[in-house]
């Protein structure tokens, strides 16, 4: 089809989807030289190996299981590419990837989710955070005008305009004009607005969650690293209040645990249990296996590194096999659905063509008996996607769309186990409506009766793979008009995150002098009163049944 480049080739590395071992490109974590790198199997584990002429060999854990890697690889989809790029001075080859962002014409994915950092102020001071302004640091807060232009830029992506924004920081709720910003995002036509927050402002300002919901925020994306004060020092005490406020406002939350081996990997099952206990308001858990900041000795990386296969294995172990490894699918598995709708409509669709090793996900349901039921327990996911792939090929080859659609209707039921599925879930109708009528309203119902469990493994300079970054579909917009893939933004912050923020920030003193908002001290830090929080009803209730669904 002419509207989309379905067979986009990389000018940097063209081994995507090959069998192990294969050659890709990576960087030297010390000097950032771009190096040929080998992705290979050693015993049952996948590693990424490269050698810098000046800094020696780097052999890093890539994925903990060859089997899982191969299963995910099956879904490696042809990325589509963009028809318009941002940075024209690169001559649009992107051959110095990742130093040509972006987006350049080598980039493979349109923006599925755009981050706009609206402040680097934060009222917490987490030791591991690299983003917030420490005392005396310059303050970065793009103006409303700049934010609007970033949004316009994202909306202009062709052939698929961006439709989902994450407002992030620092702590975005510290901006007094946050509601004005949300209004602008809506005005510019974005359907999904996610707010990345610690939840503090929501917890302590009754009605704030409701205001966010009314303004148009779809979901809160809230860090939640565990169910104890040890595993979650950031917001363990406050989270129950945040949840209670969101419950009142019917505002959905996605919990975001950063996973570190030996720190909170024994709390994974409890986190999911906690989410299920709050399924009326918690829409999902999005685990983020740790990515390291700056230089770190190999011994420490080996101690703390966890990747996707280990995460799914621990989920299986810590949920008493109720949610199993095999229930998880790589994100681009969804591409047969996109292809099918594209074939039917002849219109480019929102796609998730990121690298298969970037993330995995599943959905779990609570049935009428309050039992945990992962979606693959009652849907033949592989079979359905294979069938959709065949259907879209037939349509593209010129077969009659009506006949193919009728075939779909007849066959769809056979992929769903009617006995096992939750009784109140009419999945056949829901899928047919979405696939053929393009009516996605029912999918909202699907979300509220289910819990999304996903994981997204952002890279660091040690496990950096250019095949992944050039397919990245989670981007940052910056006020200079560039759109920068997440892992480029954070793996080479000296060229992107830090550099742009330095250009567009003002000094701490100037910020203090010119601040005209409502806060008495816009740079004040949050002070926790543990006793008071522990004694609150919300707190006692939230953590009273640590193991409810996964009790042995």
């Amino acid at each position: 089809m002419s509207f989309i480049i379905k067979e986009k080739k990389s000018v940097v590395t063209n081994s995507y989807g090959s069998n192990l071992p294969y050659i890709t490109k990576s960087i030297c974590p010390e000097c950032k030289r771009i190096l040929d790198a080998k992705v290979y199997a050693k015993k049952d584990v996948v590693y990424l190996l490269r050698t810098c002429p000046n800094h020696g060999e780097f052999d890093e854990l890539y994925w903990e299981s060859v089997d899982d890697f191969n299963k995910a690889k099956k879904y490696a989809s042809n990325a589509r590419g963009l028809l318009n790029s941002n940075v024209s001075i690169t001559n649009n080859t992107g051959s110095n990837c990742p130093f040509d962002c972006g987006l350049c014409t080598n980039h493979h994915s349109h923006t599925a989710l755009a981050n706009i950092a609206i402040t680097n102020r934060c009222d917490l001071s987490c030791w591991y955070c690299f983003f917030y302004a420490k005392a005396g640091d310059p303050i970065y807060e793009p103006s409303l005008e700049q934010i609007r232009l970033m949004l316009k830029n994202l909306k202009s992506e062709s052939p698929v305009p961006c439709n989902a924004i994450q407002l992030t920081g620092g702590e975005p709720t510290l901006r007094d004009d946050l509601f004005e910003i949300i209004r602008i995002v809506k005005e510019e036509g974005f359907d999904h607005i996610q707010l990345n927050t610690t939840g503090m402002t929501i917890a302590f300002n009754s009605g704030y969650a409701m205001k966010l919901k009314e303004a148009g925020v779809s979901t809160l994306y809230v860090s939640f690293d565990g169910t104890t004060p040890q595993t979650n020092p950031k917001n363990h005490y406050e989270m129950p209040k945040t949840i209670a406020e969101c419950r009142k406002a019917n505002l959905g939350i996605v919990l975001v645990p950063t996973l570190i081996k030996g720190v909170n990997d024994n709390d994974i099952g409890n986190i999911i249990d906690f989410a299920l206990q709050n399924i009326d308001v918690v829409r999902g858990v999005d685990f983020q296996p740790v990515s390291f900041v700056g230089r770190m000795p190999k011994s420490q990386r080996e101690k703390q590194r966890i990747t996707i296969p280990k995460t799914t294995q621990l989920i299986q172990e810590q949920t008493n096999n109720l949610i199993r490894k095999k229930d998880f699918f790589t994100i681009p598995c969804i591409s047969p659905v996109t292809n099918f709708i594209e074939a039917l409509t002849n219109k480019a669709q929102y796609s998730l063509d990121n690298h298969f090793a970037c993330g995995m996900a599943t959905y779990v349901f609570l049935n009428e008996k309050n039992e945990v039921l992962p979606l693959p327990e009652f849907v033949d996911v592989d079979g359905l996607f294979k069938f959709l792939r065949e259907m879209s090929n037939s349509i593209e080859e010129g077969k009659n769309k009506r006949i193919e659609t009728a075939k779909l209707l007849l066959k769809l039921k056979s992929f769903i186990n009617q006995e096992k599925k939750p009784k109140d879930l009419n999945l056949t109708k829901l899928l047919f409506d979405a696939l053929v009528k393009h009516d996605y309203s029912a999918l909202g119902e699907f979300h509220t009766k289910s819990l999304f469990i996903g994981m997204m493994h952002f890279m660091d300079s040690y496990n950096y793979d250019q095949q992944r970054v050039e397919r990245c579909d989670i981007h940052y917009a910056t006020p200079d008009g560039r759109i920068i893939p997440f892992c480029a933004f954070n793996v080479v912050p000296e060229l992107y995150r830090d550099k742009v923020q330095k250009q567009y920030s003002i000094s701490w003193e100037e910020f203090r002098q010119t601040y005209v908002g409502e806060s008495k001290d816009p740079l004040q830090k949050y002070v926790r009163n543990i006793k008071e929080l522990e004694n609150s009803l919300e707190y006692k209730k939230a953590y009273s049944k640590k193991k409810y669904f996964f009790e042995k």
Binding site: R33, N84, N91, L149, N153, S158
Partner: protein, 100 residues
Amino acid sequence: MKQWFKTKFGLAPYGEVQLIEFSFEMKTQEDTSLTQYKLLLNDEIIQAHLEFSTKKGIMIITKELNPEQLLKKENIDYKIISKEIISYEKVLESNNQFVK
């Protein structure tokens, strides 16, 4: 107080900048990429791209900076092809898809 410049893309940190085109000698693609990286580490270099296949480079740098000194500092075997003062607004315009 930081000086800002009014543009149709909001307040910008630069008013006018230099657009430099140059040719260079480099043995490998990897050396070229690393050189581009090193150039970009300089605060005064706003954007830069070195094209190994054509051995041509392009940089947008602050108005005050001497490009020759900079390229020498990075030990680049270069020849300046052109120097031009442009408004930073032009750079912003070229990065923003909605004005293209």
